[in-house]
Point group: C2
DNA sequence: GTCTATATTTCGATAGAC
DNA sequence: GTCTATCGAAATATAGAC
């Protein structure tokens, strides 16, 4: 009993601790949700890959949706600071360039988490509806809100959306076309392209 | 009996004919697959919205997958000419600009069809696996093949991917942020942004 | 914490009348 | 072409022993 929620990570014995069962479940779930989609992944295969049974999963998660929610929350942490750093004043192209660069770094570091969102939009939106998460403040809704800010010239907003699209296309839409390119080299090339689109 | 396949459209009586039941089914399915995802849409709700029963759907389609496949094929027609127009010689930035412009027009005209693909990648990939569609020649696989062509400088390939991302972000990732903008105005602004990224 | 066993539901699909 | 009725499969989720 007393199923563990999102426990605070108090390192009891230095950096010796292996990932908890809960985290191992989430790692496997993330892998499979990206590969086969949320709906295409049954609890049975998740359990099988972990070497446990379906029922054991329910000790850690109240439902399958709960797993998706836990993974969804992981992404939030990243987007939060980046987005909230922009206040309510109109965004400038220079500030946007800075933001896009930061988001790109996070996307490269947490590739799978962002792929999860790209490939399971329907399932995640369903979650949002069920849990009445109104003022949810996630990355893409804030992204869209900024792009709707009529105080910023339309020309600039299109460039801002486009700059983000450059990153998105190079990291995700391109599949593994750039997989053989070193991270630093790709980062520099993408950043130059972003600059080209945001420069006046 | 004799369930109708993809019939050739011989206009029997001028432009008088209303959409066939088969097409009405596909229209509703497209709407719902985009809204709730393929897996999140049951045949029951499709039938209900059409005012018929589940069983009636099977007169027109052999399976639910068959519906998705029919919609998938609709997109193919668009991408084909655009992609096959580029032969096997290395793509230039100028040719790519032309191609991106054409794809953008098709995306604006057939928005829902492209949304279907963006939001149901997992389901469509599963289709491809089951039907062993190897040399499938669809839009995104050709897109990725071109971006992997090592005869083109990496710098240019990143720009090409980015240019496509600009379109993608402005039309899809931005949601309805640009919904109030006239098509022609948006088209011009996006194209300028694409030019900025493809210009040497 | 993990198991076996089972309840419950929903969905895709089929059979056959009309 | 569309219906009623039903099948069979697979999934999520629960109960309770260990």
């Amino acid at each position: 009993m007393s199923p563990p929620g999102e426990e605070s990570c108090i390192p009891t014995d230095e950096a010796l601790e292996r990932p908890s069962t809960r985290d191992r479940i989430l790692d496997v779930a993330l892998e499979l949700f990206v590969q086969s989609g949320f709906d295409g992944t049954s609890l049975r295969v998740i359990a099988e890959r972990l070497g446990i049974t379906k029922a054991a999963l329910y000790y850690y998660f109240a439902s399958k949706d709960d797993m998706l929610m836990a993974l969804h929350m992981r992404v939030h942490e990243f987007g939060r600071e980046a987005i909230t750093s922009m206040g309510d004043e109109p965004v400038t192209l220079e500030a946007w360039s800075e933001l896009v660069r930061g988001v790109m770094d996070q996307m490269m570091a947490q590739r799978k988490l962002f792929l999860l969102h790209e490939r399971n939009q329907a399932a995640i939106e369903k979650l949002h509806r069920q849990q009445h998460m109104e003022a949810h403040e996630d990355l893409e809704s804030n992204f869209r809100k900024i792009l709707s800010d009529s105080r910023v010239p339309l020309h600039d907003r299109v460039r801002m959306a486009g700059a983000f699209g450059v990153v998105f296309a190079c990291l995700f839409l391109s599949g593994d076309a750039f997989a053989s390119v070193a991270n630093e080299e790709l980062r520099a090339l993408v950043h130059d392209a972003v600059e080209a689109i945001l420069k006046r």
